[in-house]
């Protein structure tokens, strides 16, 4: 059993790391064409990433879309989640279902829907279309995180505020909203990261005029490969790994992922 445990863990570890390693090696390859064993090493593909205007534009577009759509997603989801949990609304389960529906369906459906919608308005190919389409698709994430936060909030907290003289509006502003901020940030972060990586919606909605990073990478794969793609990937990986390591050090990564803190403390 012990042996099986280590074999499995090693295999999975290699499986998960393999692409990361490949990409790292390719990104510092001297040559344009991939070969193995590699002929020489160079960091000039990273420089290319920041010098080439095509790549810079793609990164900038992706960041714009991600920031705007994640913010819009949170702006839409917050009042939605709050009202459904704090008030008696008829049909609230149905409304909640409508809220989570976009994300539950295969993305191609939202993508096609957005495409025919914007085509019919005559406002085709604009970056705002992508922002709105992403906001709708990813609004489910903050909706879920905020609803969960509302559900796990001690119901006595707003009551305590009321006994101290706070009107419902003041209670929301000074107590409920500040306590929802962490879940709003989590929702924003999730929507941001997913929007950054999203392909099919961005492509069908405005793929020819708004070239986001995933679209550019996909096009590069089809029409001509450069190791710059690998350089982009390595940057993404490093950012993500750093964020999670920081979280593990300063936050409580394990508790965040659902582990029971009591059980954890028992382990050496």
């Amino acid at each position: 059993m012990r042996a099986a445990k280590w074999v499995l863990t090693t295999v999975v570890l290699l499986f998960l790391l393999a692409p990361l390693l490949v990409v790292a090696i390719v990104s510092i390859n001297q040559n344009r064409y991939m070969d193995f064993p590699p002929e020489g090493f160079s960091f000039h593909w990273y420089a290319e990433l920041f010098n080439d205007i095509g790549w810079r534009s793609a990164i900038q577009k992706s960041l714009t879309v991600a920031t705007a759509s994640a913010a819009l997603a949170v702006a839409v989801a917050t009042p939605f989640a709050y009202v459904l949990r704090a008030y008696r609304i008829r049909l609230s389960p149905l409304l909640y279902a409508v809220g989570i529906l976009p994300f539950m369906l295969p993305p191609v459906i939202s993508a096609l829907g957005a495409q025919v919608f914007w085509n019919s308005t005559g406002h085709a190919g604009q970056i705002e279309n992508v922002i709105i389409a992403h906001a709708v698709f990813f609004s489910t994430l903050p909706l879920i995180t905020i609803s969960l936060a509302m559900e796990t909030m001690d119901p006595a907290l707003p009551e305590a505020a009321q006994t101290l003289g706070a009107s419902p509006r003041t209670t929301f502003r000074t107590i409920t909203l500040p306590l929802l901020v962490p879940s709003m940030i989590t929702g924003f972060a999730a929507a941001f990261v997913l929007s950054l990586n999203e392909y099919i919606i961005a492509y069908l909605v405005a793929g020819f005029s708004v070239e986001t990073l995933p679209i550019k990478i996909f096009n590069s794969l089809r029409y001509g490969f450069t190791p710059t793609i690998a350089a982009v990937s390595v940057v993404f990986i490093l950012i993500a790994a750093s964020v999670f390591t920081l979280f593990a050090i300063f936050g409580n990564l394990l508790r965040f992922l659902g582990a029971d803190p009591a059980i954890l403390d028992r382990q050496p």
Binding site: M1, K5, L8, T9, F15, L16, P19, V22, V23, V26, M34, D35, F36, V76, A77, V83, A86, Y87, R88, I89, V98, L101, P102, P106, V108, I109, S110, A111, L112, G113, A114, Q115, V116, F117, S120, I132, P155, V193, Y199, Y203, P214, F218, L221, I229, F236, I237, A240, A241, F244, A248, L253, L254, L257, G258, A259, D260, I263, R266, Q267, P268
Partner: protein, 285 residues
């Protein structure tokens, strides 16, 4: 015991704005897509308003049924492979000491944060003929010459598993890490080896979440686009790729719309089955 408050007129206004947003930018496009599925396709060009069932009839064509069958098959396989590997892996992970535990989780999360297009790219390299696994094997003397395993069925399956694996682990993790240590210890005091304990105690207890993990991967890969597009030939395309292809290059948007609606029904049916099974197992538990 807190009653939800009675909504005022202002409440409906606050609710109405996001609802209107979702209505206009999700429900309305969906409605337009339904209408579009009945439109007339102009060959070699766009489409015009009309009402015909040509696109819906094509749902019964061999091509479409083949794509649907393939999508279901590869999603089932991906679900099966993922859960068979992820479950024991997560179980061992949850029992590790803190340092390797956290380190492994960081690796899993880093894999999660890779975008699908990058995963497709890296596996295309790994399974290609120029700088991939087979090249390493040749270098090590274990193979005669390099081979390309992509584009191919195995490549698509591996890619899908890679994408879905971290999600599967994260779904299993909370329950497995909360699994009472004393339950397995009790089994061992009764004479069961770790191997037997795993199969006779851990797996049966975890049946609901095993099911949840499997269905998560299944539904998730059903909607996947990029892996199949990058790592597969047209015969390995999933429905999402096929629909997107019809919507962009072939410019047969009505047909794409009809297929998308079919896929919607299929996905909702899968989610419905998930919920049914979940409520059944919860009742039995």
């Amino acid at each position: 015991m807190t009653e939800r408050r009675k909504p005022t007129r202002g409440t409906y206004l606050v609710l109405g704005v996001p609802l209107a947003f979702l209505g206009v930018f999700f429900l309305l496009p969906f409605g337009i897509m339904v209408a579009t599925s009945f439109y007339h396709r102009i060959p070699g060009g766009f489409y015009e308003a009309g009402f015909e069932l040509a696109s819906w009839r094509r749902l019964f064509s061999g091509v479409f049924l083949e794509r649907t069958g393939f999508s279901l098959l590869i999603s089932l396989l991906a679900g099966g492979v993922c859960i068979v590997v992820a479950f024991p892996f997560t179980y061992f992970l949850s029992r590790m000491r803190r340092r390797p535990h956290v380190a492994l989780l960081i690796v899993v999360m880093s894999a999660l944060s890779l975008s699908e297009v990058i995963v497709g790219f890296t596996w295309s390299v790994l399974l290609g003929r120029a700088a991939g696994l087979s090249n390493i094997m040749v270098w090590l003397g274990l193979m005669d010459e390099a081979r390309a395993y992509q584009p191919g069925f195995l490549a698509v399956l591996l890619g899908l598993c890679y994408i879905a694996f971290p999600y599967c682990v994260l779904t299993l993790y909370p329950s497995l890490s909360r699994l009472d240590r004393e339950v397995t210890e009790a089994a061992q005091t009764l004479g069961a080896s770790p191997w037997r304990t795993f199969w006779t105690v851990v797996v049966p207890i975890s049946r609901p979440i095993i099911m949840a993990g499997f269905l998560l991967v299944f539904v998730f890969t059903l909607g996947s686009y990029l892996i199949s597009a990058i790592l597969g030939r047209p015969e390995h395309w999933t429905l999402s790729v096929f629909i997107s292809d019809q919507a962009s290059f072939n410019a047969n948007v009505p047909f794409a719309a009809a297929m998308a609606l079919f896929l919607t029904v299929l996905s909702l049916a899968m989610v419905g089955i998930v919920m049914l099974i979940e409520s059944r197992t919860r009742g039995a538990a």
